[in-house]
Structure formats: C-alpha cells, structure tokens
C-alpha cells in the first residue's frame, strides 16, 4: 500500500482485498465488551474538515479512537481558516504539532493530493470536491461483499467478480460514484451509471463502466443499486426541470424496487434526500443496507488507518 490514500485508483486489487479482509477481522471487535485495540497508541490523527460532515468525520474519529490513536478535530468553521489562513499554512501548523495522519475533506478537488506534498504523515482523502472519496468506496465494496459474495466466510479473500452494480443519480457532482467506479472495477464488478444526461460527467465514456439513461431496464439485471444524493448545494444551474420530474425518472420508489432481482440490495452513501432520489419506504426496507454502511464505515476506516499507520513505513523508518 501507498503511504497515503488519495484516490481509489491508488489501490491494486490485492491492496483492496487486504483492506476488506482486515476490516472483516476487525468487525469482530465491534461485538466485544472492550471495543478498543492498542495498535495506534501514541499516534496522532487530525481530522481536518473544510466541509460539513457528520458521518464521515465521526466515523474516522471512532475508527482512530478504537485503535487508541489520539484524535484532534479541526473544522474550518471557527478556526484560523475563517481568518484567511491558506491550506498550506494550516498544513504546516498541523505538521509542526506532530501529526501522524491527516484526514482531509475539502471542497476543492485535488486538495488531499496537494496536502500530501506538504506533510510527512499519511494523508487520507475523506472527500475532495467532486473528485474522490475512497473510504466510502471501500465501505461500499465491503458491504456488497458481506451481503452478496461467498457464504459463511463472508467472501474473505475474494473480490466482487461478476457483480452487477448500478449507480444512479447525480454522478456529475459525486465523488462517491467516481471512487466506486474505480474500486469496484478493480475488484471485478461491472458498473453501470444511470443519470440524466445533464448529470453525466464530461468524458464519462472513458471511464471503465457502462452508461445508461434507462433506469427500469438496468434495475432488472442489477445485484446492487446505489442511489446518489442530488447535491443541490453544488448545483449552480438547472440540471433538471423539477424535483418531481427527477423523482419520476430517476428516483427509487417501491414500484421500481419491485423490478430488482430477489437478492439485490439498495445502497445510499448518505445523507439521503428522502422523497427525492429514494422513497422513505425503500430506505427503510430490509433490502436497504444504509445503516449497515454506516457501521461498516467505522471498521473499514479502522482497517485503512491500521494498514497506513500500524506498520513501519515502506523504506522510511517510522
């Protein structure tokens, strides 16, 4: 593994499976009376969040704390950033305090990549603009493997070969979709993107996936359907005529869910817009893995932090 986790493309198939297997072992820790391991004792992890987030920040915080790392939370609001401090100066400040890993979320695509040039510790991308969100893709892959691959062993050591994953909605603004396409393809899944033409990214035909505009046809052959949030906060223009029309063509309601094969699961990275891309009855159905995704998020992030920080850095003495 690399020292940083910036993009899902940094991960080879073996790296990705190692992370998923490590997470599978760590899952048992969550069921124990003492949900803590001493592995990262004495290391400091900084949560550096320039964008609002509940689940990702708390998930990383819980993951680091369960591995006994010290966690410093830093959010742009109410910090020197509000006074105009640049990312570089903030990075150097954190560096001077002695941090072993920086978890960064930023509204600018490429922020994590840039930050990695300035700090000596590991950098984990927790979402940069509309670019990538690799740990979300890992937890999605983990959830798929847990639910759909292998029996008994829960797919240990295996990829997602042949699994048909349909990702639906605001692909244009979605870092989750981008990371998922890269990671799921490396793991052997066949990914299809479904979105209104206005919400398909430029040059999507160069991505390693299929593209479709007909949701109903795709649902009939999907093993996994992943609904994306309509990111109105990133929309500066009208990408579709109305919420109602979007819902009718690309929303997942109970009627559409009935088209899915028996075993198929419904995923959503959260936070959901109930009644827009996903109907409440679908979100709360037994097929929905939305709550499992959150608990899997903690163990997958534990696995990532352990693999990045738990051993000696390659070459460099830790």
């Amino acid at each position: 593994m690399n020292r940083h986790l910036i993009s899902a493309a940094d991960l080879s198939r073996d790296d990705a499976i190692l992370i998923l297997d490590t997470a599978a072992e760590l899952a048992s820790v969550a069921g124990r009376p003492i949900r803590k391991l001493p592995t990262l004792r004495g290391l400091t992890v900084v949560n550096c969040f320039y964008e609002d987030s509940t689940r990702t920040r708390t998930s990383f915080e819980a993951a680091a704390k369960r591995l006994s790392a010290d966690v410093i939370n830093f959010s742009a609001k109410g910090s020197s950033v509000a006074k105009g401090e640049s990312l570089k100066d903030t990075a150097l400040t954190l560096e001077a305090m002695g941090t072993d890993a920086v978890i960064i979320r930023h509204s600018a695509s490429g922020a994590a990549h840039t930050l990695a040039r300035w700090v000596t510790g590991s950098v984990v991308n927790a979402g940069d603009g509309t670019h990538e969100h690799p740990t979300q893709a890992l937890l999605d892959a983990f959830t798929m493997r847990q639910r759909l691959v292998g029996d008994g062993e829960r797919g240990r050591g295996m990829g997602l070969d042949g699994l048909r994953v349909t990702i639906v909605g605001d692909v244009l603004h979605s870092r989750v979709a981008r990371s998922n396409v890269l990671l799921l393809t490396v793991l052997g899944a066949e990914v299809t993107l479904v979105a209104p033409p206005t919400l398909m990214p430029y040059a999507v035909e160069t991505w390693p996936c299929k593209v479709s505009y007909d949701l109903d046809a795709e649902l009939r052959k999907a093993d996994v359907v992943m609904m994306l949030r309509v990111q109105q906060e990133r929309m500066s223009a009208a990408y579709f005529p109305s919420i109602r029309e979007y819902r009718r063509r690309y929303g997942l309601d109970a009627g559409r869910m009935a088209l899915l094969p028996e075993h198929a699961i419904v995923m959503h990275p959260g936070p959901m817009n109930r009644g827009v891309e996903i109907a409440a009855e679908v979100a709360d159905s037994p097929r929905s893995t939305i709550v499992a995704q959150v608990s899997n998020g903690v163990i997958v992030r534990m696995a990532v932090l352990y693999l990045l920080l738990g051993g000696a850095g390659e070459g460099a003495a830790a």
Binding site: R32, P38, T39, Y306, L309
Partner: protein
C-alpha cells in the same frame, strides 16, 4: 528461565517476529532433509507429545473442567484443534477451542510493514471464568505470548491462563514460561525451527536449520 542471553542489539528484530520460526514456507520436505534441515520430531513423536499434553491438561485441570483452548494463528490453531479432539477421545467430551490473533497487540508492529490480520474466534461460551490454555507451535522470545495475554485481556477475564507449546526453543526475552511443552529443544540463536503440520504443510514434522545468510 533465561537460559541464554541473546546477543545485544539482536534482540527483537528477527527472532521475535511472529512466525520467524514457522511462517516462512520451508522448502519442500524432500529438499529440506538434504538442505541442512534436520528433523527433530517425527510425526509419531508429535502425536505422542500432543497426547501427553492432552493428558497433562486433563490432570492439571481436574478432568478438563472449564478448559478453553485458544490457538495462536497459524499453526497454534491446528494444534489447539488436535488437543481438543484428543481431550474428547480421553474424556468423552471434546474441549472447546478457538483462535486468538495477536497482531494488533504485538510490540514489534512498527518494525515491519503492516501485516494482514488473522482470525480471532472465541467459542460461544466465552473466556470469562474459564481456564484458557493458549496453544502455539514454538515458544521463543515470549513476545507473542505477551501479546496474546494482552489480546485475551480485551476478550474477558479468564479464571486462569496456561500455555501449551509443541517446541520450547529457549532464548526468552520476557518472564514467560510454558505449562505444557511437547519438546524442549536447545537451539542456537542463529538457528531456525520450523513446524510443519499436515493441515497446511501436508506433513507433520519439526525441522531445525540455519538461518539463510
């Protein structure tokens, strides 16, 4: 219990690595015999040693009441399974067994790249109030056992913890000793002990050789 001090500066790096004694796959057995590897335990001797240990466990624990065997991956788990079956043959009821991964509790994690985790599986009855017998293939520095004691601490509070090993090769770096030993094997520090078990290596044997230089 420290029979011999390791040379200074040579303490933890290699010898206490997790399966320094067992993990690296030995050359195939035929080649091993001719390549400087000496068999120190035959399959029959391993079988007898395990039977004796099973009897000793039963003796020390008054019929194996409340005993839980926890093997340390990889080969300790197979040994724990065999001991559990042996206890079942002798007493009628097999002892519960499981596995205990110690990776996250090791003291040498920072010395090597992060390792893959192994399985921890505790029998459904848990470890609280039980007599836990930790099982490993080779006892060397004692650091793995220390890590196992820490790992066990997070799982519950056993009434007592004992240690069973197939081979005790000496060179302890911590105040730890085994309660049940298959064979005491005096070794030099530079030597390597390899345990092969049918379950994963295709044959039962314990080999002694020189570290490749």
């Amino acid at each position: 219990m420290c029979a011999m001090r390791p040379e200074p500066g040579h303490e933890s790096s290699v010898p206490s690595a997790p399966g320094a004694a067992s993990a690296p796959r030995a050359p195939d057995p035929g080649q091993a015999a001719g390549g400087g590897w000496k068999a120190v335990l035959t399959p029959e001797e391993i079988r007898r040693a395990l039977s004796r240990i099973a009897h000793e466990i039963l003796e020390r624990t008054h019929g194996g009441e409340g005993v839980v065997l926890l093997g340390i991956p990889t080969r300790g788990v197979y040994l724990a399974r065999r001991l559990a079956a042996r206890i079942g043959e002798f007493e009628g009821t097999p002892a519960p067994y499981g596995s205990l991964d110690v990776t996250m509790h090791r003291d040498d994690l920072r010395l090597r790249p992060a390792r893959a985790l192994r399985r921890t599986e505790v029998p459904p009855e848990g470890v609280d109030g039980k007599t836990v017998v930790l099982v490993d293939d080779v006892l060397f520095s004692g650091r793995t056992v220390r890590a196992a004691l820490d790992a066990l601490n997070d799982l519950g509070r056993p009434r007592a913890v004992q240690l069973a090993v197939l081979v005790d090769r000496g060179h302890r770096e911590l105040p730890i000793r085994a309660d049940y030993v298959g064979k005491n094997l005096p070794t030099a520090h530079r030597e390597v002990v390899r345990v092969h078990l049918t379950e994963i290596d295709g044959e039962d044997s314990v080999l002694l050789g020189e570290r490749d230089q």
